[in-house]
């Protein structure tokens, strides 16, 4: 391949104000992180509630959570995003519509849509992990906690969930990385996150290879750091004598 690599491109002016291309990448990374973290908070909170619901003796609670999971897991992420961004706002009451479409900046309304979309989508996956984490515990733990007089909520709060979350840290880590990677769908509704900035740089500068190489490196380093972070969390929470923790 005969291609003239030009790594200096990132320090060249974009022709818009004083910005250089690198500024675009930094701003894009900022949006990517903002989308993923906000989405993750929703996913973790809602996913935990749904995961618990799936293990409750109450059939209706379990059914509702199961339906949620099937719905959000079986529709493509991109379809869900378009629904949240293009369809759902039209179903809102008139005042909310005006607020969403006119009062908010385009970036903010796109941001809200993608955060809700990723949060709810990922919640379905977190739910399944929380459920398996709880179900992996010996049934006797539930019995023992109940026998001591704990209310059902206390059984989960003090006995089941602290153990279940420790068990599912590894799969939860990969879900945490997924939400960062999935956040790239936001580029398709005009949110200028990392992928959108990469495409824009490629088009403006015509340095397609450099732009996508840098994006690849940024995604890779970001996710490696997150993985290291979660590894650190796992070590911090390790209990002696439990699940291979040193005695």
């Amino acid at each position: 391949m005969n291609y003239n690599w030009d790594w200096n491109v990132f320090f060249k002016s974009t022709g818009i104000g004083k910005e250089i291309y690198l500024d675009w990448f930094i701003s894009g990374l900022g949006w990517t992180i903002a989308v993923a973290l906000a989405g993750w908070i929703i996913a973790l909170a809602l996913g935990s509630v749904l995961g618990v619901m799936r293990t409750l003796p109450n059939k209706w609670a379990a059914r509702i959570a199961t339906t949620y999971v099937e719905l959000f897991r079986n529709v493509p992420l991109l379809v869900q995003l378009f629904i949240w961004y293009f369809l759902v706002p039209d179903l809102l009451p008139e005042r909310a519509q005006i607020w969403f479409k006119q009062d908010l900046s385009p970036a903010t309304s796109a941001y809200l849509s993608v955060v809700v979309c990723l949060g709810l989508f990922t919640a379905a996956r977190v739910c399944e992990q929380v459920r398996t984490g709880i179900q992996a515990l010996p049934k006797g733990q539930n019995y023992a906690a109940m026998a001591m007089g704990f209310q059902q909520a206390q059984v989960y709060r003090y006995v089941l969930l602290p153990q279940a979350f420790r068990i599912i840290i590894p799969p939860l880590t990969s879900e945490f990385l997924n939400i960062f990677k999935n956040s790239s769908v936001a580029s398709l509704i005009g949110l200028m996150e990392l992928l959108a900035q990469t495409k824009q740089t490629a088009e403006f500068s015509a340095n397609l290879f450099e732009a996508f190489t840098l994006a690849t490196v940024i995604y890779f380093v970001l996710n490696m750091s997150l993985m290291k972070f979660m590894g650190w969390v796992e070590t911090r929470l390790r209990v002696p004598g439990m699940m291979g923790g040193a005695k």
Partner: protein, 247 residues
């Protein structure tokens, strides 16, 4: 005076399969009752109906004047007053020994941290494990864990104790350290219902022995009578005893 624990015609089904058939018995205050029988005879299920860990469909169970099957009964409150020890110990592996002893005292009985700690350590000392207060369950042997589990139940100041095969998951050399604690408890006048195959224990401290087979109570008589004239026992009980008393 009415008995501490009374069972009247308790029957239970899993779907079409009947696991308990018309079980009636009573445990007086200060009495030690041993429940034995072949595996699958319903012993563990029966003892779990006493504190409503297992629901039953027919009959009545009264514990200290409270009806277990009555939907109006505050089950967590009732359970908090009955100590229970399980086959697999069921200490909470993510909590230290001290936390295992104090968590329900604080969260269920509303005791202060200091009071709970003092009480917990008192009983830990009584089962001879004070030196292990800061360890985690996974760092103790099976026998030690089961002694902690007994101390945990006693810390709640129970009016009666239920034992569900407390020594059957232990290495043979650890059985006695647990039985010693139970014998001591019996001598102090604790009301106890014990599912166990330890006939030596039954001979030493039981007031009565119940023999179950196929979900029904086949024998329910004083210890002297049960072990005295084997020939007077039911055929099924004779067969069972001949198998376990042989060695």
């Amino acid at each position: 005076m009415s008995a501490m624990i009374t069972l009247k015609n308790v029957s239970k089904w899993y779907g079409d399969f009947q696991v308990l058939t018309d079980c009636s018995t009573a445990v007086e205050k200060g009495e030690v009752v041993v429940v034995c029988g072949p595996s699958g005879s319903g012993k563990s299920t029966l003892i779990k109906t006493v504190n409503a860990l297992e629901p039953f469909q027919k009959g009545e169970i009264i514990v200290d004047g409270m009806s277990v099957g009555d939907p109006k009964t505050d089950l967590p409150k009732l359970r908090a007053r009955i100590g229970m020890v399980f086959q697999n110990f069921e200490l909470f592996p993510h909590l230290s020994i001290t936390e295992n002893l104090t968590i329900a005292q604080e969260r269920v009985l509303g005791r202060s941290k200091d009071e709970a700690r003092q009480k917990g350590l008192h009983y830990l000392d009584r089962v001879g494990l004070k030196a292990h207060a800061a360890k985690f369950p996974g760092q103790l042997s099976g026998g030690q864990q089961q002694r902690v589990a007994i101390a945990r139940a006693l810390s709640m100041d129970p009016i009666a104790m239920l034992f569900d095969e407390p020594t059957s998951a232990l290495d043979p050399e650890m059985v006695n350290e647990v039985l010693d604690v139970m014998v001591e408890l019996a001598h102090e006048g604790m009301t106890m219902m014990c599912v166990t195959h330890e006939m030596g224990f039954a001979r030493k401290v039981a007031n009565r022995v119940i023999f179950m087979d196929k979900g029904a109570i086949v024998e329910d008589c004083a210890k002297e009578e049960f072990f005295g004239d084997i020939k007077a026992r039911s055929e099924r009980a004779q067969h069972f005893l001949s198998k376990i008393l042989q060695h």
